[in-house]
Subunit: 140 residues, 4 copies
């Protein structure tokens, strides 16, 4: 089951690594955004298509728990999972796993959980989750 989940590859940019030698915290939200787009595309809905259809998403809640850092030169994968699907909102979970020699040796660096609300791309507010997006969420 878990092995079937979409995994989004990440390689930190040099600039994302701070004085401490690990990726600065805020970039994880950039990675989650990248992972959302990659996951949707893998599910058949490239994000630019969602925008072209008149929809976008807004974050209303996110939480992150870090257990280890990611250094420059290391790579990781973000496993994307669906936690909840409502009428206008949905919740994804993100597990950031540093690649190990063996898949089972992967180390979890960070766990994220984000609640998104679907909004109109023209700024006019909340929208029901469109069928195209609901299909990916239900398959995920």
């Amino acid at each position: 089951m878990s092995d079937a989940r979409y995994r989004h590859p990440i390689s930190p940019r040099y600039l994302e690594v701070d004085r401490q030698g690990v990726v600065f915290n805020m970039w994880y939200l950039a990675y989650f955004d990248d992972a959302l787009a990659g996951w949707l595309a893998a599910g058949g809905l490239p994000y630019p298509q969602l925008l072209a259809d008149g929809y976008d998403v807004s974050l209303v809640h996110t939480e992150l728990d870090w257990t280890a850092g990611l250094a420059y030169g290391e790579s990781a994968e973000i496993e994307v999972g669906v936690d909840q699907v409502g009428r206008t909102s949905f919740t994804l979970v993100f597990e950031v796993l540093r690649a190990g020699a063996e898949p089972e040796a992967a180390v979890r660096l960070c766990r994220g959980r984000t609640v998104y609300v679907v909004v109109a791309d023209d700024g006019s507010g909340k929208r029901e989750i469109p069928a195209s997006l609901r299909a990916v969420l239900e398959a995920g």
Copy 2:
């Protein structure tokens, strides 16, 4: 009481505002980092001094709840509060308030809560909260 809390001013950079016309979510973590440093400096402990003393902090948990967006040209303040203080970790809360015509008309845009662990600046791991930092946390 609340009025006595430190408030860190923020003005979004043009580049922080995305296609939706509001600050992209990750920059709030940059703002909280700025607010942490501003709050410590106001309490008598500039962050560079903390580093010079051999300490830094690492995030182990953060959560953010957004209720409204911040556009380019708008300004806001981040009220910093102390939630918990332990032996090696402490928790701060951040209220992002968009300035209104009257102080009581301020609109809360985002609420953050972050758990920090004190670490050695040389990468050797966790440290007890030093007295200089504890003093600011207890006064806060």
Copy 3:
């Protein structure tokens, strides 16, 4: 003369400093953007007003020469000067000076030169420099 020039204060964010212990190169373009906005505001034209009037600017050329780095905890000032003013474009120069004990002890860290084109904020292309902006450029 030079002393009368607008100087925009900058204090690097912790996240802008990389493994080398100095601000990563790209953030200088963020600083120049901040300095442009600060300089225009000081000249009587806040950037949000320029946008509200239907104008924005686009970079067509920029060049940067670095002679030293800026560490976390250090502060600097960016002196803004007008190099050229055309019909639809203008050129600014930016001198990034690290504060010294004495004004004459300031160290130049970076020199930038940027050519901007005025565009319509609705994406419809180039525009002549509006009078409000021209006034600031001519006074600068």
Copy 4:
């Protein structure tokens, strides 16, 4: 000849696109840094290896000329070329090409030229270009 050059793929992040609907200027310096690392890796010298060998690079000059913007959902390639190689410094050129239906229909969005100085990773200053890096520069 030109066709044989390394091309680094880029897809803008949602957050890199500003109110104007195109990638904000500073992110091009992030892209060039990514392209440098990709080009070195393709030449047999992953950047983390260069760091492990005790070397890093510092920018002393960069210049960028933009002719068009890159929107979210569009992708581009950065062609990397070697302009000059000295004793401690080298110069690369970057051509950012938006993918077209046909290779010859690619549109040049930006041209960059950057002068790098090789430095010791421990902060002790300039170094001669090491043999591993010189080999990639001479092959490039």
